[in-house]
């Protein structure tokens, strides 16, 4: 197979996704930065994170983080790891790790 890695939309989806997920995470960060000082101790923190809207936002943050990290870390492997077998292995391990982290983190907020 002899694909030429140029042309319309090649990589555009991931490029755009990285920007959109960044905006979601930036907005969430600013929200938490404002809300956190108002939450006092364990009870306050738990009440904040249990709130319906916050849970919705935290879920979006977690999913955005996973997608964002996937694009970023995959780019690192693509830039520095030349042997295809090693690179593919690293891609798979990165993907599986992020998938597992997502489940773990979502589970933490979802059972509140």
């Amino acid at each position: 197979m002899n694909r030429i890695v140029v042309g319309a939309h090649y990589g555009l989806k991931d490029w755009l996704a990285q920007r959109i997920t960044a905006l979601v995470m930036a907005a969430y960060t600013l929200f938490i930065a404002v809300a956190l000082p108002m939450a006092d101790g364990y009870e306050g923190w738990r009440a904040l994170m249990s709130h319906g809207f916050v849970r919705f936002a935290t879920f979006l943050f977690i999913v955005s983080l996973a997608y964002h990290a996937w694009v970023g870390v995959r780019d690192i492997w693509m830039d520095y790891v030349k042997p295809v077998s090693v690179r593919l292995t690293l891609h798979v391990l990165t993907f599986l790790a992020l998938l597992g982290y997502t489940g773990w983190a979502v589970q933490i907020i979802w059972r509140l």
């Binding site: 920007r19 930036a26 960060t29 994170m49 983190a105 933490i108 907020i109």
Partner: protein
Amino acid sequence: MTELTKQRPKFLNLLEIKQPLPAIVSILHRVSGAGLFLMLPLLIWLLQLSLGSAESFDTLKAVAANPLVKLILLGLLWAFLHHFCMGIRILLIDVHVGVEKAQARASAKVVLAVSLALTAILGLKLLGAY
């Protein structure tokens, strides 16, 4: 014809190359992102402790009191803040704000300075200075 007599191949000594500031903040964006990715299990575990129960919240406090953990968290705090500030710079350049060389150099300085200043302010809080 002096060009033809130059020594080839040319080996670049990475330690001797002086990078412009935009290049430095750019590679730090990658380094900080990689660091945050590698430390995700720790961060999720800390989130779990913080929300599990009043007992696990106390465990979190004990874990965070460990000097090594404090050092890692301080590093992650800088990594997050740098990645955040640099991310905003990248998004602005994407929409053609600050693309000119002089502006790009100035914004690179701002990214470096603001992220370090915020790390100092929030880091002192983390270390319990106030």
